[in-house]
Symmetry: C2
Subunit: 180 residues, 2 copies
């Protein structure tokens, strides 16, 4: 499927509302349950998505569009949210994510990017040369990956409770070493 | 995490609204894109969840609670939705799923199940002896598994478009042979 900016924005705008329906006022054991040490709970996932809004996708798009002397991105801290959000509730994080996402998409739309600008190059500190189009496509896939992760982490809290059904529920067993 | 009926119902009631936010009026390539032959698109996933409401979870719970001469469940047709829903739109399926789920949860709540009834036995045609508690826990995990699957299938439509980012997006590569 080819990247289309309008379709990418259409998916990106859905994530905060979908997460709100799934997570708002979720019982604590589900909100904070994870898949083991160094893995993300649903609450961690939302914190990580907030980090993405503040320090990743749009910050890197700006570096590309500014066309300064260097288009190399700053490294991204995948665990920034742990200290940033200590003591925060899931509801306040869902609110903050929705506000940040809405503002970022308003800015993105205001740029009225055409194909030639979507082809502009950047340099990822680990991945090397990339384009703005690839950055925006990765933003979409990253959202969906964390939605899948949240659903999986929630499902796993019932791994023992489903009994024999575990054989028919691959979501419980497909990630023996989960990557967060 | 121990099964609690109120918490299970709290998650089950969220699924239709979360799916609506994620999928309503989604562009066709995303609604009907899948992971290859014999795998489910987002639309197929919603059809499969509808089948679950009509023929799986509550039908089997009734078999357990009726305590008739046999508590063996009927086998479940995982592809019933393909013929049932030919020509249907994603929106009409989302509406139907929400209606069926709401009615099923109203019935489930009306039963006021206590621990002793949650322990009642049934017999799964493939998995053998199970309890009503395990059936209800599996219903929750099944919902979350299909939500994860929908997000993954949507993400995969951008596998080519993300370019080098594929290395940092395990959702795109963790299921080389997806199980639907």
């Amino acid at each position: 499927m080819e990247f289309r900016l309008d379709q990418a924005v259409d998916v990106l705008r859905r994530t905060p509302a979908a997460l709100r329906e799934l997570l708002a006022d979720l019982p604590e054991p589900w909100a904070r349950g994870n898949e083991g040490p160094e893995t993300f709970s649903p609450l961690d996932n939302v914190g990580h998505l907030i980090d993405g809004e503040e320090t990743d996708w749009m910050a890197r798009a700006r570096i590309i569009l500014d066309r300064g002397s260097s288009v190399r991105f700053e490294p991204y801290d995948r665990f920034r949210h742990r200290t940033r959000n200590a003591g925060r509730t899931l509801e306040s994080l869902l609110d903050e994510f929705a506000r940040l996402r809405e503002a970022n998409l308003a800015t993105l739309r205001s740029w009225r990017l055409d194909d030639s600008r979507l082809d502009l190059p950047g340099e990822h500190p680990a991945l090397g040369p990339v384009t703005l189009r690839q950055l925006l496509a990765a933003w979409v896939a990253h959202d969906l990956g964390h939605l899948a992760q949240i659903a999986r982490v929630m499902a796993k809290q019932y791994t023992e409770e489903v009994g024999p059904w575990i054989r028919f529920l691959p979501v419980l067993t497909d990630h023996p070493k989960p990557r967060s």
